[in-house]
């Protein structure tokens, strides 16, 4: 199926997943205007959100199934496999977040179904970011996502920590947006266009002046802020720590994934021939891996540890960026699938364990969880091993793919640094397992209040099953990621096709 996005009928078809989700968001918004008082209203909104996300995934699947291909001139919206696959990723991450939110919102008395509307709008922004074939669309998507997530971060109005997190995130997020926008302006000044393909053609012809490079540098800074790469990570631990835990899970997975997806598209389609960024990304990857892991090592609070570990994982993903080419993109997708699953799993257990924002749950507070709640401990152990990149879990397959991409691109040193950083990460993931299985409970009631809820149990069980299945039999996932990775091409290669 060929879609010419300059024809409005085809454009609507190309935007089908986004349109479906928008329609649902409006329906939901209308609904919660009337019904926003009781727990039951909250649950209805939650289930409707799941239906909305499912129908969006189906819409993306339909386009993927029909091999939607772009036709005609370069448009503002991309039509390729990369987009559908990342859409699934965002929708899946949002769905898992929804599932773990049910019990959490009720427990924390956050009886505002608008939460789910914001979640949907943020997801919509992510999908636009990954779909943007034009810097302006990417920017719009970014803002749509960011504004929704700012509010989500401060959703627990009674908690000062949550408010602090929201404010911090907003201020630094605004900075990042500023950098990004200024970068876009400079690129526009240098090339006269904001369309990625057209920029790519100009760059390919050797037109890379100082202004273009400055624009690219600012663009990179903006994205580095969003993915929380060292040294632009300062906001991340505090924001992740203060936000309600399901929102943290959403930020650590979805927001990061969307920023990376947009970064991949921009670098591959517009700047594949610029070359100047490889060195920068190389260094960013190294300092992020080393910094994130070393900082995580020093944490005693589980939530802060996970926050810093998510910085470290941004570093691994940057290795995939630095490896470039289709293998890097495919590795990125596989890694993100694994990363989304294992992060949501870990945060779900944390959300069930904690009280009042969970920032006071220390790693040692998990002591003896294995005797009291063996399945929950097993789930968290699988997530930790997967985060560590241990064979038999999806995290290993993801890391292995990144290593393949890196060594395949001749980046042996980067690969070696990645594995050494992983060794460091054993120093903070293992203590979690150690606490759960090898230390005695501090008191008989230490784990009495844990409540995951039915929906949360479904989410955690899905996550663990998926992690183990992909860890042993990743073939299908690899195929999908490979075609998606190949669908992202610099314009010269597109012309040869």
């Amino acid at each position: 199926m060929s879609l010419d996005v300059s024809v409005s009928g085809d454009l609507l078809l190309a935007l089908l997943p986004e349109l479906v989700l928008t329609a649902w968001a409006l329906v939901l918004l209308l609904l919660v205007a009337w019904r926003h008082q009781t727990v039951r209203d909250l649950r209805i909104a939650g289930w409707l959100t799941l239906v909305a996300l499912l129908s969006t995934a189906v819409a993306a699947w339909w386009l993927w199934w029909n091999h939607a291909q772009p036709a005609g001139l370069a448009g503002m919206i991309a039509v390729d496999d990369f987009r559908w696959v990342t859409d699934w990723l965002f929708v899946g991450g949002a769905a898992l977040t929804t599932l773990i939110s049910f019990a959490y919102l009720e427990r924390e008395q956050l009886l505002a179904p608008e939460y789910y509307v914001l979640l949907i709008f943020a997801t919509l922004g992510m999908m636009l970011m990954a779909a943007g074939e034009d810097l302006m669309v990417i920017f719009l998507g970014l803002e749509l996502m960011s504004v929704a997530v700012y509010v989500l971060a401060g959703f627990d109005r009674k908690s000062p920590r949550s408010a602090e997190a929201a404010l911090k995130y907003f201020l630094l997020g605004a900075f990042a947006s500023g950098f990004l926008l200024y970068g876009i302006a400079l690129i526009y000044g240098a090339t006269g266009t904001t369309n990625l393909t057209l920029i790519g053609i100009q760059v390919g012809m050797g037109g890379s002046g100082v202004m273009l490079l400055a624009g690219l540098a600012l663009l990179l800074v903006g994205f580095a802020f969003k993915v929380a790469a060292v040294p632009f990570h300062m906001w991340a631990p505090d924001v992740y720590d203060g936000a309600p835990t399901p929102v943290t899970a959403f930020m650590a997975t979805g927001v990061k994934a969307a920023a990376f997806a947009a970064l991949f598209r921009v670098l591959t389609e517009a700047f594949a021939h610029a070359g100047a960024w490889q060195e920068i990304v190389w260094w960013l990857a190294v300092v992020t891996m080393v910094g994130g892991n070393l900082l995580a090592l020093a944490q005693r609070s589980l939530k802060r540890m996970l926050a810093y570990s998510s910085v470290a994982h941004a570093g691994y993903l940057l290795v995939a960026v630095a490896s470039g080419r289709s293998a890097g993109t495919a590795a990125f997708i596989v890694y993100l699938v694994a990363y989304t699953l294992m992060s949501v799993g870990a945060f779900a257990v944390l959300a069930a364990k904690g009280r009042r924002g969970e920032s006071d749950v220390l790693i040692d507070d998990l002591a003896g969880l294995a005797t009291r709640r063996p399945w929950l401990a097993f789930a968290l152990a699988v997530c930790m091993l997967s985060l560590l990149g241990f064979p038999g879990t999806a995290g290993f397959i993801g890391k292995w793919y990144i290593l393949i991409a890196a060594t395949g691109a001749g980046q042996n040193v980067l690969a070696a640094i990645l594995v050494l950083a992983s060794v460091v990460s054993a120093g903070y993931y293992l203590p979690v397992i150690m606490a759960m299985y090898m230390k005695p409970e501090s008191s008989d009631t230490a784990h009495s209040g844990i409540h995951l809820g039915r929906a949360g149990e479904i989410a955690v069980a899905t996550v663990v099953a998926a992690l183990l299945v992909f860890g042993v039999w990743p073939n299908r996932l690899l195929d999908v990621a490979k075609t998606a990775g190949e669908s992202l091409r610099p314009p010269a290669a597109a012309a040869e096709r």
Partner: protein, 494 residues
């Protein structure tokens, strides 16, 4: 028929059994585990006769696994891995039986982990695909980590994490080296595969890259062996682990390192491995291991730690034998690997048994107990003598062959290594004297009970092996010979 499914069955059966162990009521877990390990042993025994003593792989199985990356499930056994597989299946039922009364908490978990560990260990020895090898190499790490960390002694958390991080560190660099090899060979031949045979046949000339790759493999295996100065995890892990954990650690896990050298590091990078520098480094480190390990063992107040350090010394002989590259020395190295598994395993069992009665591993807590527990004393003496390498026991055959073979290649080093045998006699006999003989001056020791029939059932098979290999090692040597010969041909420059 048997040849085609046996290796896969050996890998799958323990996993199935582990699931069953977790499902049955806790008090029955050990019976199921014993049954499962006995079945595993019974499955593996026919390998001994079905194995044809020629070079090359037998009992091969080969299926596609992760096709996009050229990863296959390829397993097989040759004259090197045959004995390690048999040693594993032989020690596992004994380990279960040896844990019978000492493991009292969370029994199903313990036995399930032992079974998963079995799969991991056998997997390491039979994998002929480097991805599969790496996965197995890591997979056996987790059960061991839990066995030490949950059922270990007082300082178990420290020992467990140290064990994990040391091994993990080494293996991850090996992972990068495997990937670089994959791309080197893939680019040269156009066929991207992790298959052992494919990589080995098409390595070509790697130049200086070979040094880096050898370094990565060396680090992974040297930590596992462990060679001096990478051995510091070993005393901690051995001492803190429960008896079965120590037996498996010493008996099988350490052999993974030497096996890795035999199977991968040397055949892949012969020019590096046989360069003057590397030879000198390896021989020196092996010698330090033999002499230093023995001397440190001598001053240990803790019997278990003494045995742990003696492992460093024994494995030094293995490394010396491998690098000497003569037929006798390589056969000797293989035999020392087996002997060490049997003798040191038996020693750990014995220490565990006396610990269960007296709750002390300190040598000074005992003295003169030969009068109270004569059977225990007799067996401990025999096993110690085999560990020293007294003629007529298995220890003698292995170490003698190593020294004999290595003398041609490294005369000076071998002469020095011989002192290791004397040091071994010194520390073990001295320890025996202090534990078994001396006056019986401690009250608590007067009421020790002698070995029970269950404990005898653990020890007698080991004693049989000690005598068998000591008196008639020929069946072992004939099965090893073609593989050892092939190994030397692969490595030695033409």
């Amino acid at each position: 028929m048997y040849a085609r499914w046996v290796v896969t069955a050996l890998l799958v059966w323990p996993l199935v059994a582990a699931a069953v162990v977790l499902l049955v009521p806790a008090p029955r877990a050990k019976y199921v585990a014993l049954f499962a390990t006995l079945v595993e042993f019974a499955l593996s025994v026919p390998l001994w006769w079905a194995f044809v003593p020629t070079g090359g792989m037998q009992f091969m199985a080969d299926y596609a696994w992760i096709a996009p990356w050229g990863i296959r499930y390829t397993v097989g056994v040759d004259g090197i891995s045959l004995f390690l597989v048999l040693l594993t299946t032989f020690l596992m039922p004994l380990s279960v039986l040896g844990s019978w009364s000492s493991i009292t908490k969370r029994e199903p978990g313990f036995y399930a982990l032992l079974l998963v560990l079995t799969t991991g260990m056998i997997g390491v020895f039979v994998s002929l695909d480097l991805f599969l090898f790496y996965v197995m190499w890591e997979v056996m790490l987790i059960p061991m980590y839990f066995i030490i960390g949950v059922w270990g002694g007082e300082n178990r958390l420290y020992a467990a994490i140290k064990f994990f991080i040391y091994t993990f560190f080494g293996s991850l660099l090996m992972l990068v080296a495997i990937l670089v090899l994959y791309f080197q060979v893939g680019r040269a031949t156009g066929l991207y595969s992790f298959g052992y045979a494919h990589l080995l046949a098409n390595l070509g000339n790697l130049g200086t890259l070979a040094w880096w790759l050898f370094g990565a493999f060396f680090l992974a295996f040297a930590i596992k062996v462990p060679m001096f100065p990478f051995h510091t995890w070993l005393p901690d892990a051995h001492v803190e682990a429960p008896t079965a954990g120590s037996v498996i650690l010493a008996g099988i896990l350490l052999k993974m390192g030497t096996y890795g050298f035999l199977r991968f590091a040397l055949p892949f990078f012969p020019t590096v491995a046989l360069s003057q520098t590397v030879q000198m480094v390896i021989v020196t480190l092996s010698l330090i291991g033999i002499i230093y390990g023995g001397l440190v063992a001598m001053v240990q107040p803790d019997f278990k730690k003494l045995i742990a350090y003696s492992s460093v010394a024994h494995l030094g002989f293995v490394m010396l034998g491998i690098w000497a590259l003569t037929l006798q020395s390589v056969q000797g190295a293989l035999l020392v690997m087996i002997n060490h598994g049997i003798s040191t395993g038996a020693l750990f069992f014995l220490v565990g048994m006396i610990y269960e009665r007296r709750h002390s591993r300190l040598i000074e807590a005992y003295g003169g107990i030969a009068r109270v527990v004569p059977l225990f004393a007799a067996i401990l003496t025999i096993v110690s003598l085999s560990s020293i390498g007294l003629p007529g026991t298995n220890g003698f055959v292995g170490e003698f062959l190593v020294l004999l073979g290595a003398f041609r290649t490294y005369p000076v080093a071998t002469a020095l290594a011989t002192t290791g045998v004397i040091i071994a006699a010194a520390y073990l006999l001295w320890a025996l004297q202090r534990v078994l003989f001396n006056p019986l001056d401690k009250h608590e020791n007067e009421k020790l009970t002698d070995l029970t029939p269950r404990e005898l059932a653990v020890l007698i098979p080991l004693l049989v092996c000690i005598v068998w290999i000591g008196v008639y090692p020929k069946p072992f040597l004939t099965r090893m010979e073609p593989a050892a010969r092939q190994f030397i041909e692969q490595v030695r420059p033409k």
